[in-house]
Symmetry: C2
Subunit: 340 residues, 2 copies
């Protein structure tokens, strides 16, 4: 019938077919008033005939807004990250923003992720979970007026949602002290890469504070750092349990590691909790199944709050360096008891 327009219809095609200018089509699309009903009708028909749909890309460039918020998160497939993201998704559900997710598994990918967003035209806001933006990128984002909110990572200048890890360490340790334990070991993780926030460090601090408070000496040989993996935690626990004077309780900085500790105990024939008490951190789904005593941190809620804060900033609210500290809670199950 006519020359093939090849690709999808453009706004100019609609305008031509409707016999109006592109400005009018744009007005109809965006619901601006001041278009005569007759004209509007003609435009709508043309849109329908051509099966036209505006290009989000062009629209975004023109508007200078991306209609998306970026989420940067390391190892997003870990149980705790997924739970946080679930919160983010929920928080963003009603908003007009889409979600662009960036998994970050290395220092290099971290740079790439932040670089992608720092100009501010890729996303209207940024949510960084468990990662600390490099200083230069942070500066750039500030210059681009890109709203940023951090979750589970401390930062001086930016709105932040934090979990009270120190209190969590204290809580776990106090629980064990109150049960009568004196020889309490700690298994944490020391991230090799410096870009991830090490919640473990704060948990260690809580552990130490609480021991001091109880008048118990912090023994060097009882404080160990490995990686987040179950396997490594297992071998660390084996070492601990083979000490001349082994601990009667082990506090692990994550549930995953606590499960590794449980494995080690099983391997050595140590009964839990009769001969060894174990406390984890996180309260992932598996913890309930394993009957693990643990410190529950509000993962879902941290993501939810992060998203809500970001939306507030996007609404124009000025949050500055506002920090929100979410509380933790001890969940006593069946892996802790009095010392032998």
């Amino acid at each position: 019938m006519e020359g093939l327009p090849s690709g999808p219809a453009r706004i100019a095609d609609v305008a031509a077919l409707a016999g109006v200018g592109v400005a009018t089509v744009s007005r109809v699309l965006n619901g601006h008033a001041s278009v005569r009903p007759v004209t509007r009708q003609r435009v709508l028909e043309a849109i329908d005939v051509l099966d036209y749909r505006p290009s989000a890309l062009a629209r975004n460039l023109s508007l200078g807004r991306a209609h998306a918020i970026g989420v940067v998160v390391p190892f997003f497939t870990s149980a705790s990250a997924v739970e946080r993201i679930r919160g983010v998704v929920t928080g963003l559900a009603g908003s007009p923003y889409d979600l662009a997710l960036f998994d970050v598994e290395s220092e290099e990918r971290r740079m790439r992720a932040f670089r992608l967003f720092d100009r501010g035209d890729r996303a209207d806001g940024l949510l960084a979970i468990s990662v600390i933006p490099p200083a230069n990128e942070a500066a750039r984002m500030r210059k681009a007026r890109l709203p940023v909110v951090l979750v589970d990572a401390p930062y001086d200048d930016l709105p932040t949602v934090l979990i009270d890890d120190v209190a969590g360490g204290e809580l776990a340790t106090r629980h064990l002290v109150e049960l009568g334990h004196r020889r309490i070991a700690f298994v944490g993780d020391k991230p090799r890469d410096d870009f991830r926030f090490a919640a473990s460090r704060d948990r260690t601090r809580g552990y130490e504070l609480e021991l001091e408070r109880a008048g118990i000496e912090v023994r060097r040989e009882f404080v160990r750092e490995g990686t987040l993996s179950r396997h490594v935690a297992r071998s660390i626990a084996l070492e601990l349990l083979r000490l001349g004077e082994p601990p009667t309780a082990i506090f692990a900085a994550s549930d995953t590691q606590a499960l590794g500790v449980l494995e080690a105990a099983r391997e050595l024939g140590k009964r839990v909790p009769e001969e060894l008490s174990v406390v984890g951190f996180d309260d992932v789904e598996l913890a309930a199944y394993a009957g693990l005593t643990t410190v529950r941190q509000p993962l879902f809620e941290s993501g939810l709050r992060g998203a809500q804060l970001l939306l507030q900033v996007l609404e124009g609210e000025e949050l500055g360096a506002y920090t929100e500290l979410l509380p933790v809670e001890l969940v006593a199950r069946s892996t802790t008891g009095p010392p032998p």
Copy 2:
């Protein structure tokens, strides 16, 4: 020193500072040859001074490519979806494409997600996981030449990665039949919404086929459909176990549901596997912990293959209606045994 350029530097600013045209700056940025080293140096210095970084948005519009691939997935926080996405992330790791994730929790959000992509300028390719694109959107995407690959959802026209659910149903059922069971019940899920692909249906089919093959009658009262939740599966199992002639084995269409069945058994004091055998489907992490016998489906690999196929299509390869069927595997643990 000079008038504030307010926002981030643009390519024109760089060109002006370097005393060259924008075309030359663009050439330097994109590594095109035919720029004299002296000129290139001048441009690079200007870029450095202005701390310039090109706008991805404008670049994409100009190039007509988004440098991203879209992933649409319902309930992406479910354990199986996460595992699939992990595969996708892995498959995309080396590629130049970023990942835009769309969680879809309702029919309306499904429409929105596909609508977002169907013009082809938001993403260079689309990966639909466990969702079936609406027919009109599929047509539109074809017109826009947007490559699409489906994972865990059947479609006539498009490259697809499928799990052999029928074989999985057969496998689970055969395992129970071989142990000597004759009264085998099935607990599946019947999605209310019609947009999600119901893998459960195929598993039911495998269950029925295998029973017929073994010469066992398919009893109406033994085939139940609920939702995916553990809770609902639990109450269905309670009903089944309270029948005059209860089943000696229950095959659940997912591990989550199998865990609900186990709960029901515990509640009624039925010992597993002595008095009741239970088989699940998926082999999520929890299954290993619960000692659940289950059918392992290659979740991670399905995502990985989907990503790889999409990359192939993006390379220009023509796949058409190519379908890849991934095999399943029985993992026998401790919730199955001979009937009482």
